[in-house]
Symmetry: C2
Subunit: 282 residues, 2 copies
């Protein structure tokens, strides 16, 4: 439904469509016959059945999540283990292998963007000692690329490689503010679930909020994703001025004047944007 929302580093929007990503989230559970699906798509379904909530799975769990026949799941898991995409651990459990992480680390969002951003994120962390995030949009969600934190006083729901809703966090709202209006309407149409006591659940309030972000160039949230947590976020831009990511500082609500953090967050975002330009040349 949000497949069109994927924002790549060079080709936001258009890119996701070209990739045929609309087909990617086809539900596969419940399909117990393997007919009609290619071997590769079945193997990828096995990989895709692993998640933050299911980082380790038995063969039975893989089978259940993918709808594959038992013998097929077994054979595919073995082939994935052989290459190093999965690892077999004790008690018949499987987990994702380090080789997949290595190859995955070649994705430009994880490579170019993260490499350019990290020094600025560290400066921001050191200046604030709060939680610092680097976030991109992926399929209509905020995808966390990097998170710096010490032992935070604030409970954060972010986790690297995790996706969270766009309407409820400072960084998500910034990404949404600079998205095409169609995407904003898609997000609104899908519903604005309440995440915390002050989540914006009214579509008109959200539209006004996004317009405000476009005017001021930064976003602020208070108790919108998690009660007790506030954030200040700013957009990171690519070569032709399009927003490709957002950074944010998350801190305990009421602990500081959020406005006072805006210059630091904006400065770091501007530094990353400047750093991204060489990568963006055609």
């Amino acid at each position: 439904m949000f497949a069109e929302a994927r924002v790549g580093i060079r080709d936001p929007l258009r890119h996701g469509v070209a990739c045929g990503s609309a087909q990617r989230r086809t539900p596969i559970a419940g399909n117990t016959s393997d007919g009609g699906r290619s071997v590769v798509s079945r193997a990828l379904a096995v990989l895709g059945s692993f998640s933050k909530d299911r980082p380790e799975q038995t063969l039975g769990e893989i089978q259940q999540a993918t709808g594959l026949a038992s013998a097929t799941a077994y054979r595919l898991a073995n082939e994935l283990v052989e290459w190093g995409a999965l690892e077999r651990i004790s008690r018949g459990r499987y987990r994702v292998g380090i080789r997949l992480w290595q190859v995955g680390s070649l994705a430009p969002q994880a490579r170019d963007l993260r490499d350019v951003a990290l020094p600025f994120l560290q400066d921001l962390y050191e200046a604030t000692h709060e939680v610092v995030h680097l976030v991109v949009m992926d399929e209509g969600k905020a995808l966390y690329i990097e998170r710096l934190m010490s032992r935070p006083e604030v409970q954060v729901q972010s986790r690297v490689a995790r996706r969270l809703p766009l309407h409820a966090a400072g960084s998500g709202k910034v990404l949404l503010a600079y998205s095409p209006p169609e995407l904003v309407e898609q997000v609104i149409a899908a519903g604005l679930p309440k995440q915390a006591s002050r989540t914006i659940t009214d579509s008109n309030v959200l539209r006004r909020e996004l317009a405000g972000i476009r005017t001021t160039g930064y976003g602020v949230s208070r108790d919108e994703m998690t009660d007790g947590a506030s954030s200040v976020a700013a957009p990171v831009r690519g070569a032709d001025g399009e927003v490709i990511a957002a950074i944010s500082v998350v801190l305990p609500s009421g602990s500081r004047d959020l406005q006072a953090l805006v210059p630091a967050v904006s400065l770091a975002a501007a530094g990353i944007s400047r750093g991204m330009r060489p990568f963006m040349m055609p």
Copy 2:
């Protein structure tokens, strides 16, 4: 040749063998017939043809690297694009997709170890303002899991998800010092290539160096990986005391007394080791 050297978080050594990883690095280039290889192994070969040096490839380059027939390479690349493992970009080029990074981020070295280590690495970075590394062993090489740095004065060859030789860096020597003797002999037998002016290339010197690391509990290098760069490294241990990773601080040679950094590096390594224990319970 070093396939047995893979060190997992829970099952060092043994694990890699159980995974059949010995078959994983079979050279595939030059095999222009697709016969005898399963569809899944061919698709994984396509993924594996991407690297730090080749983060973007044309279909022709993929074909050349994998030895696949043109039509096969095209079909497999399309299936990988459809799922999001690859992305198609301009001028017929492909690159690794963010979805593969997301799934790869579930690997325990990238997830548990990195999550536990990051606060300690940040403290170490803040205390020293030098380059800070988290490194694990993978197939007889030092694999960089995390790197914190600002704008370093020292040229470093590390890069997240990059693998470097074990004998030439402080962190690599620490990993090697706590490896089984067979692995040390394998590394020596494979040759000790000179990386910089003071790389240890003599096997007896290396053996003495490793014994010294086991005695003192830390490793130091000076102009061994890169001229002008020195490092201090310490081991990170898992629940049953085995070394699962190393951390290091890299700084310009001659800029500081390396010995003075040992307590900070050792303290951070001890903190991470303590943090890893809950994950290690059977």
